[in-house]
Each structure stands twice: as structure tokens, then as C-alpha cells.
Homo-oligomer: 253 residues x 2
């Protein structure tokens, strides 16, 4: 499998509007430092899966339509790009799978355009698409949210965003089947108290170690975290990297 | 007054996702042909007003925060850019004025961030901001919508989008006080029947002529209209132009 990050920022993105912190100021000069809303394109053999849809101009990133779309949840920074995309040209609608959230986001369900919103996914009930196995996992968030454990020809990817920590059943499952790559919510610099909806970097690294993932890539990064990383001598432990927009990772046995 | 168009497209934008029509294909090669969602920045002396907020990356267009934001309505293609912008940095929140629509769009009212949503505007009840007079006008649309008649030092601008035709009170008002510049919904190529929510180009030109605006600039342009314009010998009548993203127009007596 190959995972290509389209967006790795939190709901504000980077640069944050009207922010003159070091990170936001530098990112206005260096596009490589910018972060759009959360989303990635997964290629698993013949199957192309859009996981979350945060970047608004998906037209520029996707090329031909993906075979399916997986949504972790219906907060707007994870479905932003679907609003123009739904009015695209396509004979066959694109199947969209997400958690059980009848409210969805704005008028997406009312006016789906070329999107075909399928029955909500249930935790731990797997789906197969041309050899790609998709297992939804519970997460901790303020809106109904799912992570995804994706397996293809011995490659195992866990996509876990947005979440504050992990529910016990998800943690136990991942400890039993450690993924080669775990993509994990890491929105914040170290916090005094655990945030209910998002991980800080210490909590994210502790989860990496408890799960024993071969590699963990931290995403949903706020300008506060990037500023902390830029101004401390922090070095992530072996196996842990910070995601960047445009980064591509290979996942395999 | 000076009006700078940030976005002049309809809800799909141009290029439309996965569309291979002549307009969409050319626009992928020539950014000047692209159209983002509806929005413009008006400068009236010391006052800067964002009128609608369709473009998603307002961070790149706005510079310092506007003094106020006017929203024609809460369809997502007119408020899209507010979702990241609301999480920006700003001591004083930005006042936002729009029509009476308690549903708003997604969670904008619940999580306004730096936006200060003020009491809904009422048709024909004017507001003043440092010499800029703002008069809301009724429009015909599928969601509560207002046009704006904006006056500053003898300059008169009418912003009328989205609308299918114009309600009689709005038409009568504009005939009595023709603006120097009218920005008008013109989403569609000629249609057999009037569309309830948007103008086609023939209806838009008829409104220009009935109102006697000095100049009319047509906006909210779909790829279907751009394709029709590109493939017919149509020449707009004197005083009528088609808006483009990045276009700037001066309005004065």
C-alpha cells in the first residue's frame, strides 16, 4: 500500500489566519511548511481510497475519482473538500463510508451530487474491496468518529484521527495486531491535562510505544505544535515522524 | 469605493471536479480562467468589507482582517472560507451581518471563533459604518438571502447574488436609484424556463436594462455559462461585463 498525505493540519490549517507566530509567518514564504485540513490518498493495488477530505481543492490533488471515500467523522475540516467535489462530473457515484452520524455536515446528505453515502459503518465490522480489508475502530472524539485498520497483502495501516487517547477496545486490538504504519492524531504540544478530543505529542508517543507500531506518523498538527517543535530541542523517538502535506509513505510486510 | 473580486464561480467552481469540458480543461492550464466560490473585498474609504466568503483560502487574499463581513446567505459556497478563518488570531472579533437564517451553515454559529455574528439584517433597514451606508434588499433564493445596496460618497454599488430574477420591491428600489455598478447573479447560459434560484444570462441582461445600472458585472458563473460564452459569438451589450477572479472595479459618481 502507498499513503499520500494531502493535508496534515488541524481545523485552522497553517498558516492560521492573521497569525504572526514564527511557524505561520515562515509558512507564508515557504509553501512546504503549510498544512491543509486532514486527508490522504491510499493506493492498495488497483484500489484508490480517499481517507478524509479536508483539503478544499481536491480537484488539484485527486486526478481520477477514487474508488471509495472513508470518512473518520463529519467535522467540517475532515469533509471540507467534498462540498465542491460533489458537483463534479461522474457517471458512477463515488461510495462514501463514514460513522453513524445522521446530522452529517451542512447539506452534504441532502445534496450529495456524485457522492453515494452508504449505510453507516459499525465498529469492528469489516468490509472488503478487491482484497483491501477495512475494519472500523472506535475513537474518542466530540462527534461520532471512527478510525480505520486497513490491510492489503500483508500490509497493515491504522488511521486514527481525530481522537484523544484511544478507547480500550481499539488499543487492545492494535496491541494484538500492531500495524506497520499508524497515522495518529497529534494536534497539540505537551499539555498539563489530557485533552478529551485530541492527543498531545507525549500522549501520541506513549500510544506508539504501547501499541508497538513499526512506524507512527503524527498528523492533524496545529501551529502550536509546529511552533513547539521548532523552538525546542525535541527529537521524536525512533519510528515516530511528523506528517507533512505531500509526504508519501509505503506500507508493506 | 473599490471592489476586488476574490471568487466569481458557482457552487462547483471552475474547474469542476473530473470535468473535461473545454472550459474546465483550459482552466487547469490557465489559472486566470479558474473561478472560486463567490466573494469580494470592498474598500470604502477607511472601511474594508468582505462580501460573501466563498474562497477557502481567505488567508491568502485578505491581508489584515476586514472591518466587517456581509453575508448574502448561508449556502456553503458563500461562507466556505469562514470555516478556517474563524480559528484565526484576532483580539477584536469581526462583526458578521447576514440574513435571518437560524440554521446558518454547519457549526458556524456554535463555534464562531473570531467571528461575531450580529443580529440578522432586515430588508430595507439600513446600517451605517463610517460613512458607508448598507441597505439590505430581498432576493429570490432557496435559502433566506439578501442583496446589498452600498453607498459611499456618491458611489452606489448593488450586490445581488444569489437570486433568480428580483423581487418587485428590490426591482422598484433599484429603478429609482440605479447603481453605478450592479453585481448580479448570472449562473447559467440561456434557459427555456426561468430558474427559481439563479439568473441565466438573458434574464440578467434584461434586469440590467430594466434597472438602468451604469455598469453591470455578472458573477456566480458556472462552467456551463463559460462554455456557452466560449462557443457562441455572443457579445454582451454595452455596460455589461463578466466578472473574473482577481478583477478590481472602481465605483464612484
Amino acid at each position: 500500500m502507498r499513503l499520500h498525505f494531502l493535508g496534515t493540519g488541524d481545523c485552522a490549517g497553517i498558516p492560521v489566519y492573521n497569525c504572526d507566530c514564527q511557524v505561520c509567518s515562515e509558512s507564508r514564504l515557504k509553501p512546504a511548511l503549510r498544512r491543509q485540513g486532514s486527508g490522504a490518498l491510499l493506493t492498495a493495488g488497483p484500489t484508490r481510497v480517499l481517507i478524509d477530505a479536508g483539503p478544499p481543492h481536491l480537484e488539484q490533488h485527486l486526478g481520477s475519482p477514487p474508488d471509495l471515500i472513508l470518512l473518520s467523522h463529519y467535522h467540517i475540516d475532515h469533509v471540507f473538500g467534498l462540498f465542491p467535489l460533489r458537483w463534479g462530473c461522474r457517471d458512477q457515484p463515488i461510495p462514501v463510508f463514514g460513522p453513524d452520524d445522521p446530522a452529517g455536515c451542512a447539506d452534504l446528505f441532502k445534496h450529495p451530487g456524485i457522492l453515494d453515502f452508504r449505510a453507516p459503518l459499525a465498529p469492528f465490522v469489516s468490509h472488503r474491496h478487491h482484497g483491501l480489508e477495512i475494519l472500523p475502530l472506535p475513537l474518542n472524539h466530540s462527534k461520532p468518529s471512527l478510525g480505520f485498520f486497513l490491510e492489503y497483502q500483508g500490509g497493515r495501516l491504522a488511521w486514527l484521527c481525530d481522537t484523544g487517547g484511544l478507547p480500550e477496545p481499539t488499543l487492545t486490538f492494535l496491541q494484538r495486531r500492531p500495524p506497520q504504519l499508524m497515522v495518529l492524531d497529534c494536534t497539540l504540544p505537551p499539555q498539563e491535562d489530557d485533552h478529551p478530543n485530541h492527543n498531545d505529542i507525549e500522549r501520541a508517543i506513549a500510544l506508539h510505544q504501547r501499541i508497538g507500531a513499526q512506524a507512527t506518523c503524527l498528523t492533524h498538527v496545529s501551529h502550536r505544535l509546529d511552533l513547539w517543535l521548532a523552538t525546542t530541542a525535541f527529537v521524536p523517538p525512533a519510528g515516530v515522524t511528523i506528517a507533512a502535506d505531500g509526504m508519501t509513505l509505503d506500507i508493506g510486510p
